[in-house]
Symmetry: C2
């Protein structure tokens, strides 16, 4: 699978190590500290120079730990302090805060890599589209799974007819949030106003976006069901199941859970064959691709796959060469609308044409 991958990745030449893209990291929650900052450090042509946080203590520690230049409060960031010290902004705050931080970045003419979900609401996503497109700044949504070789390979297999006409997709992403309690910095993930939802927004977005990416197609109708058997999830969805119907007649059936055995897979079955990715979504974890066709099965094991450094390198490479980074803001908006439609369907029982 090397040839197709090199070809695909050649769309994203990395930035030069001599002239790296310097990132301001906005929001220093667990994911930013434990995953994103190490990934920026290791990614070709990337450097983390500025830390933006509501907690001066956290920010100071992060700056010291990663040899960064400075830290800013959210107010100082909004006021344009230190804009000479960074070229791009990586937004990793609660979803409901993305819009204001992207608007700031756009006002200062900075490139933006914004964590998914793009926003907590469709209104928030539309604000981001307006800010980014008015300012004309480079922008990408941090769909790291689109930089996983197994996922790209599955997309290639579908595009080149290996599975024939897609008939259906099964996909899941479930974790044990209660067994691995959220840190205080991550408590916002159970706050519907800050997060926009839980199982669907945090986890279900992986099956949703990855299915669209692998099929290279958009659903025409969605349905959703949510449930929250445990009190910790009274305000948000603990479990979600949703279906997406595509114009071709293919269906995707997806689940996600914040309180289940760790599980993540994506399986595409078509008229001629099938491709199964399992495991698939964890950062830094192995990925397995199983190919089936004509009675034969082949399994490709990929060692630990680091999606984040690939994502940051591709973003920086695009920005430094003036190429539009991908996946873009309109893709984030489309997914935000799909999330809202799935929640609407869960609430009133009616399928939503999208």
């Amino acid at each position: 699978m090397d040839a197709w991958y090199d070809e695909w990745r050649d769309r994203y030449p990395v930035a030069s190590a001599d002239d790296p893209v310097r990132f301001a990291v906005v929001g220093l929650g667990g994911f930013a500290r434990e995953y994103a900052l190490p990934a920026i450090e290791s990614a070709d042509g990337c450097e983390a120079t500025v830390a933006v946080s509501g907690s001066p203590e956290t920010a100071a520690n992060v700056v010291a730990a990663h040899g960064m230049d400075r830290h800013l409060t959210y107010e100082a960031y909004a006021d344009g302090v230190g804009t000479a010290d960074y070229d791009a902004v990586y937004v990793a705050t609660p979803h409901a805060r993305h819009a204001e931080h992207v608007e700031t970045a756009a006002r200062h003419g900075k490139a933006v890599l914004c964590e998914k979900a793009l926003a907590a609401t469709t209104d928030g996503a539309e604000r981001i589209v307006e800010a980014v497109e008015s300012a004309g700044v480079p922008f990408a949504v941090a769909y790291r799974m689109q930089f996983a070789p197994a996922v790209c390979y599955a997309r290639h297999l579908v595009a080149t007819g290996f599975v024939g006409e897609p008939a259906h997709v099964h996909a899941d992403f479930s974790v044990r949030m209660l067994a691995d309690p959220a840190t205080p910095n991550d408590a916002w993930r159970l706050d519907p106003d800050l997060a926009g939802g839980s199982a669907l927004v945090d986890l279900g977005l992986y099956p949703l976006n990855t299915t669209r990416f692998v099929l290279d197609d958009d659903p025409v109708r969605v349905r959703g069901e949510t449930s929250s058997p445990h009190a910790a999830f009274d305000a948000v969805d603990e479990h979600v199941a949703f279906t997406m119907r595509f114009e071709s007649g293919a269906h995707a059936v997806c689940t996600a859970s914040q309180h289940a055995h760790e599980s993540h897979h994506l399986r595409v079955v078509g008229s001629e064959g099938a491709v199964t990715l399992e495991p698939v979504f964890f950062e830094g974890a192995p990925q397995t691709v199983r190919l089936e066709r004509g009675g034969r099965t082949t399994t490709v094991e990929l060692g630990p796959v680091e999606q984040l450094p690939r994502q940051f390198a591709a973003f920086a490479g695009s920005v430094s060469r003036g190429i539009d980074p991908e996946p873009g803001v309109r893709e984030g908006l489309r997914d935000t609308r799909l999330l809202a439609a799935i929640y609407d369907s869960a609430a009133d029982g009616v399928a939503v044409d999208v």
Copy 2:
């Protein structure tokens, strides 16, 4: 997994080979000839004595091939000819004809094993319930998968807490009907009046009933989507996707297709672990059970599993000892209603509370 299985199967002592249950086989389509008759021949305490068919030639060939006593037309069967030659009736005609043949059997006081789907419509299923319960004859629906060790083992694992609280189920059953064309005897499977539907009724019923059986639970709400991209399926569903929501908050997401790479699996993910059956639904095919819990995975490979002889032996054993055979007529009725609800949801886009 032997101990639990022996215990479970002890509920169904087989009939005596000295005094076997003699079956009239009503309907001699491909499944009856290629699968059911050999299974009756090999099953403990079972004997096929009478063949009932609309084609005297087919019936004569079948009687000769299997050393049976006689064959009857549908009219002769309905008129009660030869009732001394059989103790039980196995109904394997198109779904829409089940009711009339079960009514005949009930009128003659015969035990009945009726193929699934129980009927093409809810009205048909209700006629069957009325006939069976009024006459008080032993009755079972031929859900052969409930006699597969892997399926029984999964049910045992869920009941004894191996997976914890079930969060979701993924299940699929897809075949290549177009690549393996239906024989003329099986053309009724594309006729909505005779079959009641295609992908859902023929195949989706396996994920549906097996999920209910493994969880030992009934859904409270269902949704469905159907599509038929190819002209061969203009009158019926080629692909189906459906979801079932359970009172516990667990969700099942299921697919079935008459035109896809052969694929059948069932995966239950709970708060503590997961169990995956793949492959699972083919008669006479291997079954694999994958157990996951606490970071450990164990896979149990079962050689070719013959579900049909187990099903016939259990039915005959129950009948000969005066035990109610399982699964009973009310379970068939419940599934027929669920199929209808899924089609209703597919037609109007609205979730159906059941």
